[in-house]
Amino acid sequence: MTDTAPMSSAVGHIDEEAVVPERRGLALIGGLALDLLISGKELYSIFVKTLYYTARGTRERGAVVRQMFEIGNRSLVFLCVVMGFIGMILVYQAGLQMLRVVPELSLLGATFLELIIRDLSASICALMLATRVGAGIAAEIGSMVVTEQVDALRMCAADPIDYLIKPRFIASIIMTLILVVIATFVAFLTGMWTGYIFFDINPLTFANLSLVDVGDVSIGITKCFVYGAAIPVVSGHCGLSTFGGSEGVGWATTRAVVNSSLAVIMLNFFISGAGYLIFGS
């Protein structure tokens, strides 16, 4: 079984299962920490190379537009359905809970808008994109690795990061922002409808932007950019480190979904924390 991952030759890959016995106790923790460190280094190197190629790489005509269609248009219905339901669920649950504490719901709409603009819209969309787009990128690049097309690219002196990851990176950053704006609007509409049907809130009262300030909008937009950049890098890394036939493509896809979802959740925590410290509540 040959490992065709670009980075692992530098790490000195050997068939671990055969040589190293199962790790236990301290060795397990140490091994996990080393694995984490190595993945971190590889991710960092892919990210830096992607940025470099974004500035200076070859420009293949239409590659970015094709990826924008693949990432953006193909995810639109999926995201709208999910965010539509999120809007309804949130207003319904939050309304029920707020009635336990305060008897009137005139601020429900304003609070809901603040919450989805600052956090939930970008984060839920990014989780969904991590599953759909991340799995797609890893499956595509993974099957190219398995069928040795990536090696063929290297033979032609074309860096797979320049050819495969860079267009997806640019497309993902642009389309994430656009998709999040559309999905936020959908969630707002379904939330307003739910407020009107279940709690008798006038749609005009619900559409209250008074609680949304510059801080909320800038945190939301920052999240869109960061998630949009993180998803193709993480799942591209998983795709490029595929090995072992059709089974390997399956594992790579799974890893891409899990790792990019985890990346979104962790980044969310750090950006939200930083945003709270910078802008206050």
């Binding site: 504490v101 599953t131 799995a135 059709s246 089974e247 493509v249 399956g250 969310n268 925590f269 509540s281």
Partner: protein, 265 residues
Amino acid sequence: MTDTITHRALAPLAAIGAFGSHLALVVGGMGVMFGRILARLVLLRFDRSELLRNMHKMGVKSLPIVVVTALFTGGIMVIQATPVVERVGAQALLGWGAGFGTLREIGPLLTALMISGRVGANNTAELGTMVVTEQIDALRALAIDPINFLIAPRFIGIVVTLFLSTIYADALALFGAAYAGLGLLGVEPLVFLHGLTGGLLGLGDVFHGLIKSVVFGVIIALSSCQFGISTTGGAPGVGRAVNATVVVSAVGIFVSDYLVSFAIG
């Protein structure tokens, strides 16, 4: 000439029709599979050792990502709940604000999404590879029922894993929330605990989340088994099947979340 024009004009309709029949195929396939699995479960005709092996592989091995997800989720919930809580009252209500969101919605939801990504996608990849390499046909040739041997144990494994992981994740998320509250807002964990247990939240909220987790588990299990078993077309086919599974599971999770929230109030 007029033929092609009508063709073009009707293209959107054809696309909608194709989508509809595809949807019916997927949902119908999942329904038939659910029926067959239930029949096996009632008669207790499934492979026990395979069940144990799957539960270890799905449950125990997923623990690290459940732990990480839950701790971070708790922290996020505190940061997001703060402005809401400050508006309706004191910081004493922080436990309530972070608690109801975590227990009723975000805890079960995020755990389900992570388990769908890790276990569901893995399951599809495994079954898909078996189909592509004709291992399922080999089982049939040996007169071993694939549903007894492969599908039913995985179904139980996923549902049980998700249920237990959600309990775990709820507890850890509240723990993470209490300490994120201390670190970021200076709210003592005891104050947080009082907000949590002060009477505004009850066991009902916990069960609300747990019922959801069972429904999500059934959806993840059915979609991952269905797409895995109907894989076609080699290595790219496995990738496509995994992709379809995570998308269908996610939509199923959100749609059923709404329906269940509404049904059990």
